[in-house]
Structure formats: C-alpha cells, structure tokens
Symmetry: C2
Subunit: 392 residues, 2 copies
C-alpha cells in the first residue's frame, strides 16, 4: 500500500428541502457578494433559481448571476465569469447545477484568485495558489465535483478538454437534495450512474498499493449504485434510490475509494475526454462506450483485480480460470450498461468516426497525458488507437 | 432514511514517517505557538516527542508541553492545560498520542476559546461557540477522535464520565503513521479494534433510516477490522494490518458509517462509560464486556439489523429462523472477542461489582442519558440494570 493524503473539507447538507439552508451556509463560510453560476434553463424553469435568490434576498446577501454552463463546459464562459466577478467584487461562488456548472465555477474561482491566463492550470503550465471559495447546490448526481478537487474545462479552439485538480477548489459546502435530481431525463440519470461507477473503477484497477478497507468500501459503493441504477430505470421518482446514487456520487470521487492505492488508472476517462472534446457526447455515455474495449485490452496485465471485481462487484460465479472469471466480469458490466441503455461502443454512442478521426484522437490523447499513462496497463499512442478501433 | 450532515474537514496525512511533516502542517493551519499535549512516558521513551520538537525547533515554531493524559482523561489536567495555554498565549494545540491525549486537548481547546467553566459543555449546560485549533499525531488506533467531533472527559469528583460533541473540535490535521502503533501492548491493540468496531456497530443497530450505501461501507469496514485484528494478534508488527486498522478507526467514527440513519444506538457506550468512570477499565475491553448482554436484551426489537449483521459481517450461514441467525451472529461476535482476548462479561473484565454497585451504575447511566436512550431498543434504568446483571 502507498502513503496517502485524504482531505474532504466540504460540509455536506443532505436531504429534502436542504436548499433552504443556502443563505446560512454562505454566511457561515464568509460569502457577502455571490456569483450564482448555473447551466441551462432547467434550473430556471423548475423554480429552483428563484427559490435560491429569494432565500438570499431575505438574508440580505447580494449576488449576480451567470447562466449558460454546458456539458463539457467552455473556456469562453469561464472568462466571462472571471470578468464579472472582478467587476462586481464577488467574494463567493455559488454553483447551482451539475458537474458543468461546478467545474466552470471552479475555473472561474482560479481565474479570480490568480493573476494571468487561467488555461495555464489546465494546460499543465503552472499551479494555482488559491481559488475563490465555492458552494454548491447539486442537481445532477454524476461527476462528484461537489466534493472533489478536480474540474474539467474544454477550450473551444481545437476542442481541447483538460482537467485540473487542487484542494483549493474543493467546495466549502454542498447542498444535496435528491428530489432535485428527479426530473432528469432517464439518459442523464444513467450517464450519471455510469460516471459515478467509473470514478471508483478508475481507482480500483491498479497495479498494487490497494488497501483491503478501500476495496471493501469501493465494492460496496459499486454494488449499491448498480442496484439503484436499475431501480431508477424503472422508477425515476424513487427518493431512496435517488439518495443512494447521489451520496455515492460524492463518495466515489472525493478520494475515499482511492486511499492507499497508486492514484488509479484513469485511462478510460482520458480516452473519453478526447471523444467529449471532439463530439460533445455525454461524459457518462462516452465512458461506457470505451470501457469494455479498454478492459479487454488491459485485463491480462491486472488479472487479480479484474477477478476480484468480477466476484465482489458483478457477483459472477466463482468457476473457471482466473481469465474466464475476469472476462465474465467484463461481460457482466457491459450487460449492466446495456440494461440501463448505455452504449458499449462508439457506434451505439452515435459517434461516426473515420479511422483518420481515431488516429487523430489517439494522438491528442497521448499528448494530453504526456506520452503514456495507465496503472492497470501503461498505454501509449498505439495502444490508445487500438482501443479506439476496438470500440468502433 | 433521514436527512444528514457530513463534515470531516480534517486533513489526513497517512503513511510511514509522516510525523516529519508536522511543522509544515502546523504552519498551513496558522499555528505559531503550540501546546504539545501527550499522555504517558511511551511518547517520550520511543523518541517520538523529541523527533516532533526537533522538527518544530528547526522550523522556528515555539511550543510548551504538557504530558500526563491518562485513559479516561481527567478534568484536572484539562484545567491545567487551559491555564498553561492562557499564560503562554498558545494559539494551536498538538495532541501526540491516542484518544486520551486528543480528547483532553479538545477539552483544553474549549476551555481556552470559551469563557467560564469548561465542564458545563460535558454537563449539557451550554454549548461551545469555538475551540482552539487542534492537530494530531496519532499513536493508537481506537477512538477515532483524530477525525471526530467528540471527546470524553472524566470529572474526578464522583467519577462522572461524559462526552461532548461539536464540529469546532474536529482536528485540522491528523498525522497517521501505522508504524507508531506497532509497540502497543497486545491488549491495547485488541481494545482498539473493539472500540473501532463498536463505533460502527453503534451506528448500525438502529430502528430504521438506514441507507444501503452506508450499510455497505459499514459492513466492509467491520469485516476488514475483524480480519486484521486476528492478523495483529499473531503478528503485531504487520504494517499492512496496522494500516488497515488505523484507517478504519478514523472512518468508523468520523460520521461516514452513520450517514442517513437516526444517529445510532450508543447504549453500549453509555453502559461502558459508567464502568470506565468507576473502575478505570480500558474502554475497548469495557465495551466488549457489556456488548453481548446488551445485544441479547435488544435483538428481538431490531431483528432485521441483527440478521443482516450476522450474515454480512459475521458471515454466519443463512439457515434457520431470523432469530436463530441473529443469535448466531451475536455468538460469533462474542467468539471473535474471545479470540482476540477481549472479555465478554464483567468478571472477565476484572470488575468485581456487587449488585449494589450495578444498581448505582444503572442509576448514574440513566441520569447521564437523561432518563432513557437507545435506538435498537429504548432502555430505561431498569433495563440498564438488567443488562449489567446479565453481564456479570
């Protein structure tokens, strides 16, 4: 096992109608002038934004608003937010939405708290020395950004999608009301469940350094999401299932399920990032579409972990060779993806890529990870291309 | 399930030689003048205290020291610490040791940050409005105080043992080096494993409000501690087992294993507190000594949970009636306690109590909990007495 740091300072307030506590939480963490950042119109249409601003008005907290965060959030909007914050002397960010609004708010926070070009952080050129404090009202269970140190931004020029992680951006508080996720389209719910599971699976498939307790927590989390994703497929209004998935989403990406390991594999995410950058696909669906091809390419190099996953998460029968059990686990995972209407290849994802496109994506992906990356198996550009081709 | 808050701001730095990072962590959290609080001589004899003070000296951080924290830490020493902090203008507390040193430091922190009598907080008379910031170098895996909001202090007059919980006292950082726990006597190690499991079991045996993900995490944690406690019985120097137990100790009591439930049962702890107050027994051993009698008294009122515990934690065979499975789980837990040389009744604990003593303890326990308490089953003074009698 490896040494580790664990730092999750976010105060989570979880349950029905918890958004009514937003003003006291903002005050507790010292906010006096807010930028409320949100995504599409659903936050407006549902009345959530008005409830939030009414609560802030009543508490005498002033704010400006900025909507328009989109999936794979764009750098242009980040610039706009930074300018607005500076002009209005904003001292606290409130993201209302899912990962897009939160990630975009984190990038705005870096831009306000640091001089110079904010893209530098996402382009690995320098490190942030701070971030404007941030609170979250979560409306989509998926990215885990509400407790995580990471954010992913897409630069429009060249459609470059990059992530940056630092503890400065961990939200001060996260309001989580499972009811707010009930109106999500089924496809988005399934994408969220996929993303949540992948955050833990990326940390699970490693070449050692694993702790038994971390594995036990990870496997328990994965089984819970798997079960409740199926409940939500059939009954999207099930409060308990919404709550299980929402809390799992935070725990899957706050660091808990990676304690003691080598940092994780993360190649499925990197392969998807190129898809997301070029085709603007839903992140969760993109992950599902490439995972199976990745898994089949790497499992022999990480056989113990794939076997453990098959037995303890997918609960396949313990018979046959280790390889047979590992493959049965991968197949069961793909069956699960199909059962919640997630794609298991690029065609099903709706990506009509030519082989030239795949070559281009593999090249960009390799550049993005600095040449090669992966823990279950180290992948270079040629390997990435092979996985993309297998996922057609 | 119930709404919940989850707040664990402690920065954990886990692994070999992590105590060498103490000065930078103190600086990160703003400490300039420290009170280093520790317990018995082992922290001195092992050279740990000198390593810590050398590191602080090299970083130019000044400090005063106060040793003498004992199991069931006493209020008298807390007063001494408060006076010393005020006299020396201490702005940060560093506890080096186990739960006794940490709990005692938390009480000192309340005493410095609040006017008036510090015992008031433990006596339910008023609430603290702050606590001096606190860091921890952990040397015993047991109480979870290194990430928790709680502390337990014993008032010498009348031997009254009481706990107080508030987020203000959650440590800013916790340095956890499993190697520092390797020299613990076997009995202390077993007591620690018992305490850790009990922190999660207190949260597990409730009358509803449970989340599946919380159960999955709790069960995984319990299985991990159970397995590694046996490894440590046979090989106290096993680094991985020390690490598994140490990390489990923090997760068992930072709130994670209670998310969504009704707050937990906690009657085993309350019953033990009276024992600990009157006889100065080791906390973990006291818990083991009363748990079985408590469990047999309450299990019929909480049958689903006892059955789930039997199957998923103690891994007993799924055959017979629910009651038979529940009893098999209780017996398996008692067998486990015996296997790590923990007592399963007061005699084995070495407590020679007369029936008059038991009556007195039950009375004090009932007063301590405000009349009656318990989630698995609500217990009054008569019930407490019956459990004490059954545990003789």
């Amino acid at each position: 096992m490896f040494d580790f740091k664990y730092y999750t300072p976010t105060k989570v307030v979880f349950g029905k109608n918890t958004e009514s506590q937003v003003a006291e939480l903002v005050k507790e963490f010292g906010g006096t002038k807010l930028l409320i950042h949100y995504g599409g119109g659903s936050v407006v249409r549902s009345g959530l934004l008005k409830r939030v601003t009414d609560t802030l008005d009543a508490a005498g907290i002033s704010y400006v608003t900025l909507g328009g965060a989109v999936p794979n959030p764009h750098l242009g909007l980040v610039y706009e937010g930074i300018e607005l914050c500076k002009k209005e002397n904003v001292d606290f960010l409130l993201a209302v939405g899912g990962g897009s609004a939160i990630d975009s708010a984190k990038a705005i926070g870096y831009g306000v708290a640091n001089e110079g070009e904010v893209w530098d952080f996402y382009d690995y050129k320098r490190k942030a020395t701070g971030c404007l404090p941030l609170g979250v009202i979560l409306t989509i269970a998926a990215t885990g950004s509400e407790m995580s140190d990471s954010s992913v931004i897409t630069k429009e020029e060249g459609l470059v999608k990059r992530g940056y992680s630092s503890d400065y951006s961990r939200p001060r508080f996260a309001i989580m009301n499972p009811e707010l996720t009930m109106t999500l389209p089924d496809y988005q719910t399934a994408c969220g469940c996929t993303d949540i599971m992948m955050h833990t699976m990326e940390r699970y498939f490693t070449q050692g350094g694993n702790m038994e307790i971390t594995d036990a927590l990870a496997e328990g989390l994965l089984r819970t999401v798997k079960k409740n994703a199926l409940i939500l497929r059939d009954n999207p209004k099930d409060y308990n299932a919404r709550a299980e998935v929402m809390w799992a989403g935070s725990l899957a990406h706050n660091g808990l399920t990676g304690c003691g390991n080598d940092g994780g594999d993360w190649m499925t995410h990197k392969l998807e990032h190129e898809l997301g950058g070029m085709y603007d696909v839903a992140h969760g669906a993109g992950l599902a579409a490439v995972w199976g091809s990745w898994a089949r390419y790497v499992y022999k190099d990480c056989l113990d972990r794939f076997k453990k996953f098959a037995l303890n998460v997918m609960e396949v029968e313990d018979k046959g060779t280790d390889e047979e059990i590992a493959i049965a686990g991968i197949e069961a995972m793909e069956d699960f993806y199909r059962s919640i209407n997630m794609p298991t290849n690029l065609r099903e994802l709706g990506v009509k890529a030519t082989d030239e496109d795949l070559v281009k994506m593999a090249k960009k992906c390799a550049i993005g990870v600095g040449g090669q990356m992966g823990s279950a198996k180290l992948l270079d550009e040629a390997a990435m291309l092979e996985i993309y081709r297998a996922s057609m």
